[in-house]
């Protein structure tokens, strides 16, 4: 039984859509009850309706943030889906060869959640790409949610998290055990930078990237939002770079600025300029 009336649901869902692009369909009404329970308790709100009322108050900005963040899904794991990282291993030597000496390779984990994706890339670079020795690689992780960005910066993972996708040899080589938790070693931590960033915003200030990971976040957006975000990502991608999407995501029918890389699943490159209609 959901504790939100249709009006309350519409108000909160509308807010989340406007702020994060995330579409909550009415069958997800239970999410309001489960995900917002802590906020109700903390703020002493009698009901979701009372919370929705408070969210209308222009001074309620911190509360709006909290609600939007609580309704994001932050599931992630190391080397998620495996295959994209195999592709990274294959493409990075080519990018390395194509760049002038001294230029940095730049990788963006857009919607990085708690950092496993960014750190997987750092682990891969450290262990498996000695061919890149001497080439500086910067990994930027960004996410809308302040809470997950803070956790990503910490670089500390639970026993459960380090057992999802991470080979044990990498665990003992690159993490330090602290009580029941595992902290990524400073050398790998130093390869990654994390900041808050909304995908719906403007990204030109970030500069260009050789590789962009944007996985398992477009699934929450509606079609126009997906199209807009993909076009914005394409604008930051190097002509010989690659964009990685999640298993249930595609560019097809959403943008003509990106095309699937032949023979790969979920990997896209910028469309040749001539093929673009806009």
């Amino acid at each position: 039984m959901s504790g939100s009336s249709p009006d309350t649901f519409a108000a909160i869902a509308g807010l989340v859509k406007a702020r994060a692009g995330i579409v909550l369909t009415p069958d997800k009404g239970y999410m309001l009850d489960t995900r917002l329970a802590a906020i109700l308790r903390r703020g002493n709100f009698a009901s979701l309706a009372a919370l929705a009322q408070a969210l209308r108050d222009p001074r309620g900005e911190p509360l709006v943030r909290d609600v939007v963040e609580a309704l994001t899904t932050n599931e992630s794991s190391f080397f998620r889906d495996g295959k994209p990282f195999e592709h990274v291993k294959r493409i990075l030597p080519a990018l390395h060869a194509a760049r002038p000496a001294g230029a940095r390779l730049r990788i963006w984990s857009a919607a990085c959640s708690t950092g496993q994706e960014a750190y997987s890339l750092a682990l891969l670079l450290a262990d498996q790409l000695p061919a890149l020795a001497g080439r500086q690689v910067d990994i930027l992780g960004t996410d809308l949610s302040r809470e997950v960005v803070e956790r990503a910066r910490e670089g500390v993972f639970s026993q459960f998290e380090v057992q999802r996708g991470l080979p044990v040899q990498m665990l003992v080589k690159h993490f330090i055990q602290e009580g029941g938790k595992w902290r990524i070693k400073p050398a790998l931590r130093a390869m990654c930078r994390f900041e808050e960033r909304n995908l719906l915003g403007e990204h030109r200030g970030l500069g260009g990237f050789d590789l962009i990971f944007c996985r398992n976040v477009l699934i929450y957006f509606d079609t126009p939002t997906k199209a807009k975000v993909l076009a914005a990502l394409a604008a930051q991608l190097a002509p010989d770079g690659a964009l990685y999407l999640g298993g249930a995501e595609t560019v097809l029918g959403l943008t003509d600025r990106l095309v699937p890389l032949p023979g790969e699943r979920g990997v896209y490159g910028p469309a040749p300029a001539l093929a673009r209609s806009a």
Binding site: D81, G82, V168, Q169, V172, Q177
Partner: protein, 130 residues
């Protein structure tokens, strides 16, 4: 050919849970209650494709079995995945040095087990539940 697993654990509950997960991944499963039984099982039939191995057991513990198996059957045959409440860094390193392929710190679930099996090439990553 159906892949086979040998589950070595003195807890019937753990063996049962592991069996259910492994069968879910399409493995045929044999069970042993300690290292000695496990050695006998390994000698009796074809080596399993993977051994899921507890550490603390009566009669013969996991690390003793691991060393014996490496001496008797080979450096990476059969593949052995420790599956234990021992979660100290030094223990994990000890098991790896003794020739374990992977290491699971209990408690675990099908995602963790499946991921580890994928890690050692016995399962496709796509078969692992998210």
């Amino acid at each position: 050919m159906r892949r086979s697993a040998l589950v070595v654990d003195d807890s019937r509950v753990v063996r049962k849970a592991a069996r259910r997960m492994l069968e879910g991944f399409g493995f045929s499963v044999r069970e042993a209650e300690d290292g000695e039984q496990a050695l006998i099982a390994c000698r009796a039939e074809a080596l399993p494709n993977v051994v899921l191995l507890d550490w603390n057991m009566p009669v013969m513990d996991g690390i003793t079995f691991l060393r014996a198996a490496r001496a008797e059957f080979g450096a990476d045959r059969p593949p052995i995945v420790l599956c234990t409440t021992e979660s100290e860094f030094s223990r994990i390193v000890e098991a790896l040095q003794a020739g374990a392929q992977e290491y699971i710190m209990k408690p675990f679930d099908a995602t963790i087990l499946g991921g580890k099996l994928a890690q050692i090439g016995l399962l496709d990553a796509a078969e692992v539940p998210a």
